[in-house]
Symmetry: C2
Subunit: 645 residues, 2 copies
Amino acid sequence: MKAYDLRILPAAPSRGALSPIPGEDVVLRGGFWGDRQELNSTRFLPHCYAWIKRMGWVDAFREAAEGKPTVDRKGKSFTDADVYKYVEGLIWEAARTGDPDLEAQLLELETVIAAAQEPDGYLNTYFGHKGVDARYKDLSHGHELYCAGHLFQAAVARLRTHGEDLLTTTARRLADRVCEDFGPDGRQQICGHPEIEVGLMELYRATGEPRYLKQARLFINRRGHRTLEAHAIGFEYYQDDVPVREGGIFRGHVVRALYYAASVVDLAVETDDTNLLESIIRQWDATVARRTYLTGGMGSRHLGESFGNDWELPPDRAYTETCGAVAAIHLAWRLLLATGESRFADVIERLLYNMVATFWNVEADRFFYVNPLHQRQSGIAVADGEVPFRKDTLRAPWFWVSCCPTNVVRLMPTLSAYAATSSEEGVQVHQYFEGTIAAMGDTGPIARLAVRTRYPDDGEVEVEVLESSRSAWTLSLRIPDWASDGARVSIDGGQSLVAPGMARIRRIWKSGDVVRLSLPVVPRVVLPDPRVDSVRATAAIQRGPVVYCLEDVDLPDGLTVNEVAIDPAARLTDVEGPAGLDDGLVAVRASGRRVELPASVPWPYGSDRRSEVRGRLDLTLIPYHRWSNRGPSTMRVWIPVVRAE
Amino acid sequence: MKAYDLRILPAAPSRGALSPIPGEDVVLRGGFWGDRQELNSTRFLPHCYAWIKRMGWVDAFREAAEGKPTVDRKGKSFTDADVYKYVEGLIWEAARTGDPDLEAQLLELETVIAAAQEPDGYLNTYFGHKGVDARYKDLSHGHELYCAGHLFQAAVARLRTHGEDLLTTTARRLADRVCEDFGPDGRQQICGHPEIEVGLMELYRATGEPRYLKQARLFINRRGHRTLEAHAIGFEYYQDDVPVREGGIFRGHVVRALYYAASVVDLAVETDDTNLLESIIRQWDATVARRTYLTGGMGSRHLGESFGNDWELPPDRAYTETCGAVAAIHLAWRLLLATGESRFADVIERLLYNMVATFWNVEADRFFYVNPLHQRQSGIAVADGEVPFRKDTLRAPWFWVSCCPTNVVRLMPTLSAYAATSSEEGVQVHQYFEGTIAAMGDTGPIARLAVRTRYPDDGEVEVEVLESSRSAWTLSLRIPDWASDGARVSIDGGQSLVAPGMARIRRIWKSGDVVRLSLPVVPRVVLPDPRVDSVRATAAIQRGPVVYCLEDVDLPDGLTVNEVAIDPAARLTDVEGPAGLDDGLVAVRASGRRVELPASVPWPYGSDRRSEVRGRLDLTLIPYHRWSNRGPSTMRVWIPVVRAE
């Protein structure tokens, strides 16, 4: 049996350009993400636990164990997966904090889950019991194997941080069942929602069992050949339209596409299949270039929760589900490790500050499902205790379908693992989190570093070498893609301008050495590519990695955001954030105009449909991630520009 | 028993500002709509009949009669309605043409339908049989009463054009069953898809049976109180969110909203309920002002086939289902008859030339389901014989869900009825179709008129009085809303400028009198209201009632429509239409620029994302209704404007 490394590693490829540094070796101390990690731990994790119980999703396992039909529970066929994702988060969090109460909660859940397992290893509370549909009855839409995949990922977390136990045994028994039922001699089918592929790949990594890799490969290769049922919005909905090697860009359901792509990267890496890896890089690059919002969010269609066509990026009906952001982080992280190229970390940064941070309200007891960039009318408020069916509301305590919260729950305790990597060459810092990093090389410790910063409030980052090996190594600091003008690195009194990418400093380091990175965190105007028709003649404000927005509570005279234009040539300045939000929040002051819209007429098209630009107006923009914390409002990221008259 | 008036009347209110003129009293002779009515008759009607048989939707009745389960047929729970809508179209067409083959086909279908009726009057092929779901099991989503409503409308057509027979007996037995099951002492429920309400109202009008009006009123008043199941996109999906008297604007599923509104108008008219009528007028006016596309199309969301919020009118993802256009015509017609106000006929005109006419291909053997105003990438082509699940393809021979074709089939034979009305005052001509109009007043014939025109190719309309009563009466000619500049009426050598609305000429008419209407059918630039964010800084071209578009087959050098801008200040001229389309089609020549888009970059947002305007370019625009007849293409109605540099 393999001796497990007990480590917080959200993915553990056996090779690649960069090696991950386990989460326990990167300690966040306050700051933007340390505070949020704490809030996730103290507020959001218990919030989610209360809700998955209240919705009956845990009891579904008890009922399955007792042989009761379970189709009447609140929620869809895939709620087992939400329990598993919660359990995965709990495992990482228990490992991060060592909290014995979390460990006790985990053991209770492991028992409940294991009790529902059939003697032959099958496990699902929605299918395969008396009075409900038979096993594998609805592979296209039933999410049965998807749920299994999430159990495997939870088991992987347990194997990496603890070792074998009841949960991992349960998962392996189910994995063996799946390999039997869907192997070379089994059903030549796949699941409508990819996930089991990445679950199996990681389970292979955590156990060394080659059968899991083989089964993942079977599933991966079966997709793309119209293997599933025809779908009302096309086979692309579940990436069953084109074999992955031939894909040009991600398409269809966003979370399905990205989970699938993550499994393909895992397979490519573990089998040294360069061509396969390149197929995903090609699709990722095309998607980032043509199907991604300024916030990093992906998915412009509510119908099918899917990528739109190229340049189809409406701000008002942006779907950009939070799950898609977590999935994109998982994928980008794998690509970063495989290639070492900083553009993948750039997207992770964008997603963290503008999608993940936007998820919770200030109190972390409500969350967004979808993430529009324009709220033309005040959004739909959700009452306390209300569980919306619809997904396009403002933040709610819970949704009928609640895939997103448990995805955030499993991301946050592992967040520190995304900060840095190591390689033969040295240490790479990708995300500037306040805290410490301990990096091991193949032959021993490389260094311990302290990162001190108020990023993203300002752009000053101090990296101090606390301890170092005696050999020369390279400290690489990511210069974000947005920092194309004025990023500077200084060391020993010398200073140099650096371009986006990796700033590399190679030397023999000693304790007390300090590198100062100065990133140009100042507000700046961003224009959309003219192919993004839906935001023609508008501009947005970004400051460092943070996208800003205009919310009508910050406008005078009861104006909505639809009655305002911005002057993109005027000066932008940092100002104190408005009351009711975080202390010290940096807002941006811009200059604009009041727009007098034409009178309401019976028909909105004609030669006279023009707006009049009136008096100058100071605009106060806040970080997009803090919108909708002061009641329903209109909001926009892309603001019409004042035209030269 | 009532002596039926045998007449082609798509709606027959017992009172109102205007009285409809039956379709057989308005004879189309060629021209834009006469040709299409003929094509519908000779090509599209048989096409639809072949397909509803091929899909098993007729056999479903046979199988139900034999007591076989029928859930495995191709199509959803509502395919009975498509058979009924086809039958309604067949009835109108048989009446219009007197074709005995159509009558024979009708009698066969009547027998097939009647055989499936249960002894107690219940009739549905999807519910209420051995092996399938019980009656009324899924009122929210099952479309059971919706299907019944369409049977009633077919029976009404038969009563109006023929009198009682097997179909009308079948319908009345079902109506009586519904009144029993859902009456004051029955289930206090409604159907998730409104239609039975308007079916019952019209059946009341055609039979005089007051029980049907009472049942329609019960259904109408039950809606709006969260009577149905909670819906994933809100109770507004089926107009069950707010009682109709309190509604401010149409919302939710477009066809549901408009069918419902039509029934409410019918109820308001028959019960002299002014307040109720005004509630629909208010919602209609608000919807036309804020939730309607330039084409008259309604419904901007694919998800839920629904109205978007105010000003949410994306051109690329416009849903604007053809069924919604037919439903809007039905509703606008009722409002026109009730109020006599020309703005309702304006919208009918817009819908006819830009939605209904766009439906078929030139050969009338394929049709659109959804109707985008911007095709950024070439659309999805459909092979011969292919039946798409997805609705966002180019024209197809048939769709898996095919509600639209049978709606067009029942509209086209009645089209002439929309041309004109009569009142105590005289005759009103609303649509300028080439043909003759015979108008009866309460006390006898008013007049016979000949309308001669090439409208909408040009704006010259000649109305000749062929016969007239001896008393003075008013000839009213609708001046369309778009004709605000330069419409002229001339008679007896005199000429006067007329404004949009009704141009009225009162006199004692004699045979041979001729009125000449000259409408300014010239190409003109139309700008969108600045609140329609998705088409900011663009312009469209309209010529008379016809919206034009740019299709890339008419651009040089392989340009797509995304690489072109239009100069809205430059001159527009009529030119001959391109080859491969109708002879004599009028195209429009505009002046634009070639747009050089920025190079493709990894990230589409930044300070440098600007396009360059290059050399001048002649643009040839074609009527929107003729797009996609020359293979897959990019297309746009709203074209970015060249900016002053």
